[in-house]
Amino acid sequence: MNYEELISEIALADERYIIMTAENRALIRNIPKNPALADRFIDTGITEQTMIGMAAGLALRGRVPVVHALAAFLTMRAYEFIRTDVGIAHLPVKLTGFIPGFLSDGNGPTHQAIEDVSIMRGIPGMQVFAPADEEDMILMLPEIWDSSSPAYTRANLIKPLIAHDKNFRIGKAEVIAEGSTITFLTYGMLFNNVLQAKQALEAQGLSIGLVNMRSLKPVDEEVIIRAAKQSELVVVVEDHFTTGGLYSIVAEVLLKNQLSANVQPLSLNEQWFRPARLSEVLEYEGFTPEKIAARALGILESTATKIQL
């Protein structure tokens, strides 16, 4: 099942659902052709602010609007509308951000949503999700949309490498493996690459943990704490600025729980990424499986050196 089939099925079964877009139809191209959904499909044109305001108005009348736009414009052009209309009123408006993070590949920095997790989680009551791949997204969305909270989801159409835990719960991570040397905490489209990095490191005899975070807000604190206690090193891998994303979330969780641990980021530090075909972006920025493995190993070694000193 793909995104469009899922949203059609859910909207056909429940007339509260309204499908909206600010003229970004990539995920929902065929919805307006379905006569049973045509009057619940609203394309406001290239007007992210008006789309969000209207979604709030529809939600006031008991609807559950699922809104679509490119992640950068949805979360940033319309930010104050999301915060003020959806956030203050705590309305069940469901935001789907298309091409978040590295998925904007060759578009350039205007289209790079790599602060979206940071700014969306800053809104009281807003939930934030990042599925690892298309299958994970389809597993997660029914529960996300069914909740009475506003929510932002990073859309992800990457094909899965593994089958995911079908029992997704809001606030729960998917623990793929636990390990005593390094635990990777990651989310979204980088999951597959981190999975392969884990396999490469295991082939070298290391004990490697891997967590697909899935739900960034609310976040699975228990999983973060366990990783910090069990592993020599925790590496947070994210296609997001180092500020405000998962690395910050982990820091907040550990600090609140009075825990100190070796936690290092593989993320975008104060820089937009080099625009190119996705495979070239990953290569250039150091997020291929090989580079993730090598960088994690480098961190482990430099940390070990520091401890010896």
Binding site: D39, T47, Q49, M54, A55, G57, L60, R61
Partner: protein, 284 residues
């Protein structure tokens, strides 16, 4: 409307203005902006909108969205007179134990949505209008913006989209008092001709005197449902009813002394100029 009905509206408007003046102290409020839309709100809630304290959860009620949120003293003052809230609650203005503060919020019965950030509620009203249309309800959806508020880009986005979707159950009122926060609108970002701007965006546009109850009644009861949304440009006077503060750029937000409030209440009744010495406040 009959003469009796007009007299009743005038009495109600006077009571609303008294309440607004009483709120303009001990921290103050947006007095000038509130006085400009007082007659408009009095008319709408008395003769036009099907909304009252007993039908606030009825999906078939009419909706009013106050997008120029800083004039909420006018709304609360009216709500106190019409039984939406206990009149005694107005005395809680700016107290943390109640929610009577400078911008509308849904803790107050009758407020459909919070506002304060300009250029938001046309879109929210459009969402409500869209749902009413899908459900084939015949509610009227009214949104009031200021004229200075028309500076916001989101205003024109909304005007485009409402027209594209032919939301003829939507009525947008512009409180045209020719002032924005600190200056006259035409001296900063000229807005005229507002009428032609909306017409060019595909709207029915009608000008009306926002202090003339008969004219308002005639205008609002003859709005066409012709596949176009309608904008009513209500020509008003900032500070209306108090000649001492009318049309003054520095009387948008006012924090009067208690003595000045007494003088203004007298002025309201006698329409003579009050002696005012409160300092000018720049809030925005």
């Amino acid at each position: 409307m009959t003469e009796g009905q007009i007299t009743d509206l005038q009495k109600l408007a006077l009571a609303v203005r008294e309440n607004i003046v009483r709120l303009s102290t001990d921290g103050g409020c947006f007095t000038g902006a509130s006085l400009s839309c007082a007659d408009l709100l009095v008319y709408l809630y008395s003769h036009y909108l099907n909304v009252n304290p007993s039908n606030l959860t009825d999906p078939n009620r009419d909706y009013l969205f106050l997008s120029k949120g800083h004039d909420v003293p006018a709304l609360y003052s009216l709500f106190a007179e019409l039984g939406f809230i206990e009149p005694s609650r107005l005395a809680n203005h700016l107290q943390a134990n109640d929610h009577i503060y400078w911008h509308p919020n849904t803790n107050i019965p009758g407020v459909e949505f919070h506002s304060g950030s300009l250029g938001h509620l046309p879109a929210v009203a459009m969402g409500v209008a869209m749902d009413c249309r899908i459900k084939k309800h015949s509610n009227k959806i009214v949104v009031i913006t200021g004229d200075g508020e028309l500076n916001e880009g989101s205003i024109w986005e909304s005007a485009l989209v409402a027209s594209a979707y032919k939301l003829d159950n939507l009525i947008w009122i512009v409180d045209r008092n020719y002032f924005q926060a600190n200056v006259a609108t035409e001296e900063l970002i000229p807005l005229d001709p507002i009428h032609k701007k909306f017409e060019a965006f595909g709207w029915n546009a009608i000008d009306v005197d926002g202090h003339d109850f008969n004219a308002m009644h005639e205008t609002f009861t003859s709005i066409a449902t012709n596949g176009k949304p309608s904008v009513i440009i209500a020509h008003t006077v900032r500070g209306k009813g108090l000649p001492s503060i009318e049309k003054r750029a520095d009387r948008w937000f006012c924090n009067f002394t208690h003595d000045e409030v007494s003088a203004l209440l007298t002025e309201l009744h006698e329409n003579k100029m009050a002696e005012l010495n409160s300092e000018t406040l720049v809030v925005r």
